[in-house]
Amino acid sequence: MEALLALLIGALVAASVYLMLSRHVVRFLFGLVLFSNAVNVLLLTAGRVRWGAPPLVPEGLEVPLEAVANPLPQALILTAIVIGFGLLAFALVLSVRGVDALGTADLDAMRAAEPRADAAAKEPR
């Protein structure tokens, strides 16, 4: 089971890298979203998956009767998902503003901070 998940993660990562290397800023964002998803599944997988009950304690008991899924990876993933959401939303807005300001969605054309002429530094005087 875990092997299947590992391969799935590999596929997600591969696709996300392919998208991130695109010249279009939107595709880059899509790649980021996929990568983020892949890492969340990786957390789940690395924490081992198990069929069975979710990590809930039935009412009136102190500990669950049957074996439950490992709750720690779940908590970590939850945190990671929410953080990822914040970061991705920001990246999205930043891209929108960047495209507005720079007048292009082509990543290769976005070089306001590092203009080409800059590479030819002048001799010190």
């Binding site: 690395a46 945190t79 990671a80 930043l94």
Partner: protein, 501 residues
């Protein structure tokens, strides 16, 4: 005493919350931010003194014993880093009050700085891998915001590159945390220190270690993944650049030092050679990059890369002296580099441009600023008797003791190239007459602006000189920190309460 351990995280967070909920005028925001940062500095001093007096301090957040809850730990390294964070925080908060424009203030500049400080302090104090990830993210999102808001084309372009590569770093870090948990079943650093060797999987551990090396390497701007830094650090307001230049890459360096001593001790993972080569290439490519630039802040940006190489070289060499040298280097560099960025802002304010070709005349017009520039500039270049000299000396001495001759050569040659690229700024912005002649004359700093802009610069320069003239106390601190890292017995005992649960 232990209450102080949470203070460096709670104080800036509380200050940020206060700033969001009230105090709407920029002046009041500056005042509250200053008060909050001052409180942070007091807490940092108390923490450092506490560590000096009582040794490693530990708080189990929420009262849950390690390794189940999250442990906050202040050892010498963590406390020293928090201290220097507070210093840089104070300097930039004051400088920002004289520099940052009103729209940025309206849109949360002040609380963002506080959140950044909280994130940085959290990263320095946590003893938990996943919690470190969380503080990295806090720091990161605050830095994204500070970098991007209110910016024009350049700033947005720089921010995009910064965000993109840092997000990759962060996802690698998260994957690493997951894999580490998946192998060792723990996230507590002290616990991991004990568990990993017992797994009997040196190859796998090395591979995961490399994953962390990559994640933190991007963060710290190591060769060949440093490009986001020179692409972005020259774009935001100077107070932000200074904060970033001083602290953010150094959090990456800190994490490398922390991980590659306590979690992945060098003798276990056998990556020394790789790390030495990476450090050397970082030093060389960074300084050559600086040599190719002709813009004040871009030169400084590339210098960060080169200097991070020095710090990582200390880690890579790995002897007690080398590690102490790396820590000494980090602490010194935070002060000096932040100061240089602040000075670039003063230079721009007085001469009208960051472009060296478009500036000049400061030596004649602002001799005091010129002196203030020379101190951190020569310190960075490693001239005695300034702090940077000792930092380099410690590493050279360490490399000599280990008979790493070509490392010595690299340390020395890169030092010379640093001198070269640093004097370029001096010759162009300070010595050379301004190309526009008297027409370029900007009004001199006066009144409130003078105090706000020059005050932090003077303070940081004094620290540089003080460390230079009297290096022994800082070195003792660095050595104590290195000793704790190289033999984590005390660290483990303090965190886990003496035994494995």
């Amino acid at each position: 005493m232990k209450t102080w351990l949470i203070a460096p995280i709670a104080i800036p967070l509380a200050t940020a919350t206060l700033l969001v909920l009230g105090f709407s005028t920029p002046r009041r925001q500056h005042a509250v931010a200053f008060a909050g940062t001052l409180a942070l500095a007091v807490a940092a001093i108390a923490l450092l003194l506490g560590v000096e007096r009582e040794g490693i301090l530990v708080v189990q957040a929420g009262g849950w014993a390690a390794p189940f809850g999250i442990t906050l730990v202040a050892d010498h390294l963590g406390a020293a880093m928090v201290m220097v964070t507070a210093v840089i925080g104070l300097a930039t908060v004051v400088f920002a009050a004289g520099e940052v424009d009103e729209p940025r203030m309206r849109f949360g500049f002040a609380p963002l700085v506080q959140v950044l400080l909280a994130g940085v302090c959290g990263a320095f104090l946590t003893g938990d891998v996943f919690n470190l990830y969380v503080w990295f993210e806090v720091m990161l999102i605050a830095s994204f915001a500070l970098l991007a808001i209110g910016g024009g084309r350049e700033q947005l372009d720089g921010a995009l590159k910064y965000v993109a590569l840092n997000l990759i770093s962060t996802l690698l870090f998260l994957s690493g945390a997951g894999l580490l948990y998946g192998m060792a079943g723990s996230l507590n650093m002290a616990d991991l220190h004990q568990r990993l060797p017992a797994l009997g999987q040196p190859g796998l551990i090395a591979a995961v270690a490399v994953l962390f090396l990559l994640a933190f390497g991007i963060k710290a701007a190591l060769f060949p993944v440093f490009s986001w830094l020179p692409a972005s650090y020259h774009t935001p307001p100077v107070a932000v650049s200074a904060l970033f230049a001083g602290l953010l890459t150094k959090v990456g360096v800190y994490a490398l030092i922390r991980f590659f001593t306590i979690i992945f001790p060098r003798e276990q993972i056998g990556l020394d050679g790789v790390l030495v080569v990476v450090a050397a290439l970082t030093m060389v490519t960074g300084v050559l990059g600086a040599a190719a630039q002709s813009e004040f802040r871009r030169i400084l940006g590339f210098h960060i890369v080169s200097q991070v190489g020095y710090m990582v070289m200390g880690l890579a060499l790995g002897s007690p002296l080398a590690l102490a040298g790396a820590i000494f280097y980090t602490l010194h560099h935070i002060i000096v580099k932040a100061n240089l960025f602040l000075l670039s802002g003063i230079s721009k304010r007085l001469s009208g441009s960051f472009e060296l070709a478009r500036s000049g005349g400061l030596y004649t017009r602002a001799p005091f600023v010129a002196v203030l520039f020379l101190i951190p500039a020569f310190s960075l270049a490693g001239f005695p008797p300034l702090s940077g000299f000792w930092a380099k000396l410690l590493l050279v001495q360490a490399a000599l003791e280990l008979a790493q001759w070509w490392v010595v050569a690299a340390l020395v040659v890169v030092g010379l190239l640093t001198v070269y690229s640093m004097t370029k700024i001096w010759a162009e912005a300070f010595w050379k007459a301004h190309p526009d002649g008297d027409a370029a004359w900007r009004e001199p700093l006066a009144g409130r602006e003078r105090v706000l802009l020059l005050g932090p610069v003077i303070a940081l320069a004094l620290i540089t000189v003080w460390i230079g003239l009297w290096p022994a106390p800082l070195f003792e601190l660095a050595r104590a920190a290195a000793a704790e890292l190289l033999d984590p017995t005390a660290y483990v005992a303090a965190v886990l309460g003496g035994g494995t649960p």
